[in-house]
Point group: C2
Chain length 203, copies 2
DNA sequence: CCTCAAGGATACCGATCGTTTTACATGGGC
DNA sequence: GCCCATGTAAAACGATCGGTATCCTTGAGG
């Protein structure tokens, strides 16, 4: 009992949870290549063995990490109660109100874009998953635009997604969060123009 | 002094040149972390020894690589003869005509943005150099806008830079080059609006 | 001819990576 | 009591990384 070998007590059954949480924290904070299995298992308070019997490899963990991000409440999710009833304009602009977790840490941009850079192979599952996510995001914006009667919803969705990605990438490079505000201002211009045209086209 | 001592004996056949060329090729094609010194020296047709007496470390080579990119003819360079006499509108939009390396290899986006992701530490020289480049690029665009009489040239420059970065990042993620066309179309909208205001403001 | 520095090929170094294995500890169900 | 799946801690693995040292060839200047 008073042995110096006081072993850490068995940590319940949340191992997978904790690993995924640690992955989210470390991958987004310092990148994938800069995060080792050792550090991962330490932060997750899990032995490497346990880690490897939950995820067969680091690659698989990276994919699971992206999936968990995808499932998490999203900036672009219009299903949220506050946004469901909001105006199309607010729904379309909600993406740009994204606040990436901690405010003190250096801004790290969009995890999906970063994975695209950190995993060079375009055929890698993680890379493809990131691409799919980006497409889905643009499509959702296009759907909102379509329901609002915008003339060319696909283009508007693609444009808004591009603005978001630009703010994420540039914000990381300059380590400056208010780049997102620039993106929002451009988005407002585009959205307002598109909605004005829509209103004029079918009154 | 006309070569006093044999300090310039055997000119290394432009070893430094070849190393830098290989770095440009490999770093942009497959990323920095995915490119090892071994492969680098092989492609450059240079022994590791020679490589390390031209660049003290890989970090230093990365910095030199970014510098060489910076010196190379740039998409945003208005000094080029064809652009020097072009209209401000064309000068501002010239960034979006960037064709990266003209190859059929997968689109790899903007090297400076990629370095920001691949080198997580914001204090790293390479990271700071990339940030500086991004700022300089936006400032140059702002200068062109100012000379054209745009009301808020800084904002326009920042917006155009953001659009370019968005196209680069998103183009890599989706492995799709014509994202740049979307960016251009948004840029045209912004530039035309700004120039129209300028013409109206001070006729 | 000989000398000798520049450079090539390659073995080697320590560190770290992702991954596997070994040895032991825990606790619920029989 | 014992069994055994599940867990931890730690060592070890092979591969590869950035970086260094060794040995040998080359070729111009004396």
């Amino acid at each position: 009992m008073n042995e110096p070998t006081a072993v850490r007590r068995r940590q319940g059954r949340g191992a997978r949870e904790r690993i995924l949480r640690a992955a989210t924290e470390l991958f987004t904070a310092q990148g994938i290549n800069a995060t080792g299995i050792e550090q991962l298992s330490t932060v997750a308070e899990v032995s490497k063995r346990t880690l490897y019997q939950h995820f067969r490899s680091k690659d698989e963990l990276v994919v699971a990490y992206l999936r968990s991000l995808d499932d998490a409440p999203q900036p672009v999710a219009p299903e949220q109660p506050t946004l469901a009833a909001a105006s199309p304009r607010e729904q379309l602009l909600a993406v740009f109100d994204w606040k990436p977790a901690e405010t003190m840490a250096p801004f790290r941009g969009c995890p999906f874009l970063n994975v695209s850079v950190e995993v060079p192979d375009p055929g890698h599952p993680a890379h493809e998953l990131a691409a799919a996510k980006k497409k889905r995001c643009a499509r959702r914006l296009a759907d909102i635009a379509r329901q609002a009667g915008v003339a060319d919803p696909e283009t508007l969705g693609e444009q808004l997604a591009l603005l978001f990605d630009g703010a994420a990438a540039r914000g990381l490079a300059l380590n400056n969060r208010h780049v997102m505000a620039y993106a929002r201002s451009i988005a407002e211009t585009l959205v307002d123009a598109a909605l004005a045209d829509a209103g004029r086209g079918s009154p």
